[in-house]
């Protein structure tokens, strides 16, 4: 006997992430889910952001398989930070974020940056209740990443292309990368910068400030202008 079912396999995660989204909207803060390969510069981006954006209150959730190395780096800036160790899992899920919020008062914050586990595949599938998903990638990874990982690049509202200072030393074809993004996801803001030299960093800061303002005025949910689209 065949029984029709039609049940979403990730319904449990979606349920929690919607709950989180409502909580974030009510608190009026911008939540960004930062995804990208290991070594792309996600933690460096968070560090430079904390240096540049002192007038806004920023909290950080660090996701890693193991160690509190990233949270230790962030704690030096004197901002609220929670480390999640996934113990092998390749992504953060909504339940982990909900648990982390037990040690983080979001009503105090303007922005919450969630640094996902370094991975260009799995995090794409798990909504964390964020208003914006962003990919951080870097020049040494190669200019073909958009074509190789379309599932994640098609999903995000921003792409940060880091390590721009290496452009003259690598055979990274920047026009190709831009063209791939424009074809796959023309609505995503592409921000080319270097966390090392600070080049191009202003645009990222402006993008965050705009998102935080929208979140404060309209709520931070996916249906609101806080989606950070420019």
């Amino acid at each position: 006997m065949q029984i029709p079912v039609i049940q979403k396999v990730l319904a449990a995660n979606d349920l929690i992430s919607e709950e989180l989204r409502a909580q974030f909207e009510k608190a009026g803060l911008l939540v960004v889910n930062l995804m990208g390969s290991p070594g792309a510069g996600k933690t460096s981006l968070v560090e430079r952001t904390l240096e540049h954006l002192r007038k806004l209150k920023i909290g950080v959730i660090e996701g890693d398989v193991a160690t509190s190395l990233d949270a230790d780096r962030i704690a030096r800036f004197g901002v609220p930070v929670v480390q999640i160790n996934t113990g092998g899992a390749c992504h953060l899920d909504a339940a982990m974020v909900r648990k982390a919020l037990g040690s983080l008062d979001v009503s105090e914050l303007d922005i919450l940056l969630i640094e996902n586990v370094g991975n260009l595949i799995c995090p794409a599938q798990f909504d964390l209740g964020e208003a914006c998903k962003a990919v951080v990638c870097s020049l040494p990874e190669g200019d073909d990443k958009v074509l190789k990982y379309p599932a994640i690049f098609s999903l995000v509202s921003a792409v940060v292309l880091n390590k721009l200072d290496l452009l003259d030393r690598l055979n990274f074809n920047l026009p190709d990368f831009r063209r791939h993004m424009a074809e796959l996801n023309p609505d995503a803001a592409l921000m080319e910068l270097s966390c090392l030299t600070g080049e191009g960093f202003d645009r990222w800061i402006e993008w965050l400030e705009l998102g935080a303002r929208n979140a404060r005025e309209f709520g931070g949910g996916s249906q609101s202008p806080a989606r950070c689209r420019e």
Partner: protein, 126 residues
């Protein structure tokens, strides 16, 4: 490796549906997995064999249908599957499209056997 969580959920959904209809055994679980869902059919089948041991789904076949990525063009409305990294609309070259299929993962149906018949009553087998 994140398929293990998804597979655990697939198994739970199948077992709870089987319980609901009072079935003794699950013969097949049909799952739809989008090409961009990040879930690998072979991994799901492998984990299912391990996780289902000792449950009514122990010998169940896991039928995974892969749903291709489909875009709906915002310009002209055409539904299309991108080929070879070309994501623009093949009709109007528009780059703005919505992904309407290819990210999903859900359990479509299960095929069960009741203890008294001992045989699957799937329409296909009659």
């Amino acid at each position: 490796m994140h398929e293990i969580t998804a597979t655990q959920n697939i198994l739970s959904i199948a077992l709870s549906e089987a319980r609901r209809v009072g079935a003794a055994r699950i013969a097949r679980v049909s799952v739809k997995v989008g090409e961009w869902s990040t879930f690998e059919p072979d991994c799901i089948r492998f984990y299912f064999r391990v996780l289902a041991r000792g449950t009514p789904a122990e010998d169940a076949e896991v039928a995974v249908e892969v749903a291709p990525v489909k875009y709906a063009c915002e310009g002209c409305g055409l539904e299309y599957t991108p080929v070879e990294g070309r994501f623009c609309c093949p009709r109007c070259s528009g780059a703005r499209g919505t992904v309407v299929s290819g990210r999903e993962i859900y359990v479509e149906s299960i095929e069960v056997q009741h203890a008294d018949t001992g045989d699957s009553e799937s329409p296909g087998r009659k």
